[in-house]
Amino acid sequence: MIVDAFYAAPALLILALGVYTTFVRDTFPATVGFLAYGLLLTVAWVQLHGVDVALTEAAIGGGLTGLLLVRASAKLRATEAGARAQRPSLALRLAAAVLCGCVTLALAITVLTLPDPAPSLAVEALAHIAPTGVGNPITAVLMAYRAMDTLLESIVLLLALVGVWSLAPDRAWGGRPGPRYNADPDGILAFIARVLPPIGIIVGVYIFWVGADAPGGKFQGATIVAAMWLLTLMAGLSDVPPISRRWMRVLLVAGPAVFIAVGIVGVITTGTFLAYPDGWAKPLILVIEFALMPSLALTLGLVLAGAPERPAP
């Protein structure tokens, strides 16, 4: 009974917040609702025994996505009233509601009739984990069994950054992204932006480091580091470098490039792309992760910093 309550509370709250976020009239409350939603999802992932996922959600869902959305909602506030007037007709809303209901119904039926016992690759994943040298099966999936997906994921992120940059006005190309934030150097924001990042960076590196054997990893660590960087940006303590900086470009591509290079090492030593030679799996995985972590942190930070707006001097 108690156990059920513990399980039910976040589940129902998440549903309620999802409804709130979707239906509340104004956008700002919706984004606040979404922030709460993201934080609660973290609890849900723990309940579902997905601690690695919980870490990712805590970092991305609430934190970075929250910043992205709230900034946009503040900027777009003036457009809201006009946009509301364009609500589709009642008939369309009704049709949409019925169809969405059908989708939910179909999915609910599917959930209730999922096969039992559930098919699972857990046994296989554990059976082959020894040669990868890592202790966390999720890391084994991400860095060995399905390393290709992870490589492509880092390219997806890079491509998103290219997309964000592509939105720069021509005159600002090569310049600095986003506005330059100023804040009172003795104010609260500046204070916390000085205190939090050192702690955050240590935590980020720690989360990255334990990833091989415990929940954690490069992505989660990188997100925390990126968030800390963004904090110092918001407090006006630092500025984004112009996107034309060569070192920055190199740092951005270093992660995926090293990943591919290690894949080619596999070709040379074992004859197979992305394979690790016997006994070398763990060091090579670490090499990839060490190269990816700064690239990911920088990419994430820059994606959030936005398109270049200020022409380089």
């Binding site: 997905g50 959305l69 509301r84 559930a118 857990a122 399905r146 939105l167």
Partner: protein, 127 residues
């Protein structure tokens, strides 16, 4: 307990996907559509989580394969959100409006006049 807890989350996921789809279709504000996309996305991810949890075995709390896919999925969804929000803000800066309703084709800035009959073609600007 695995099954009941997971099933509850599965049903919540089904609900979230429906709610999010409704928001995506009906809410006229692009930012809210992006939010709704994230709600759908998290519903799908929850479903992944449920599938992973049900596949728990050998002392693992869940099937690591869907959990790993989930992490990749969250990253991809975040990238998509970031790109969409940036396009939206840029659209607002450039045009002062954010509506997606007008489907004025990008290059047809001149009136379409039928030379054969001399009458203007039907207006095709959707509302």
């Amino acid at each position: 307990m695995i099954v009941t807890g997971a099933t509850l989350f599965g049903l919540v996921a089904a609900g979230l996907i429906g709610v999010g789809l409704y928001g995506l279709i009906v809410n006229p504000q692009p930012l809210r559509k992006i939010l709704a996309f994230n709600v759908i996305g998290s519903g799908v991810f929850l479903l992944f989580g449920v599938v992973a949890r049900r596949g728990a075995a050998l002392g693992l709390g869940g099937d690591p394969v869907p959990q790993a896919l989930l992490i990749t999925g969250i990253v991809v969804a975040f990238s998509a959100t970031a790109l969409a929000v940036t396009v939206l803000l840029r659209l607002f800066e450039e045009t002062g409006s954010t509506t997606l309703a007008s489907d004025a084709p990008a290059v047809a800035s001149e009136p379409v006049v039928d030379a054969g009959t001399g009458t203007a073609a039907l207006p095709t600007r959707g509302g």
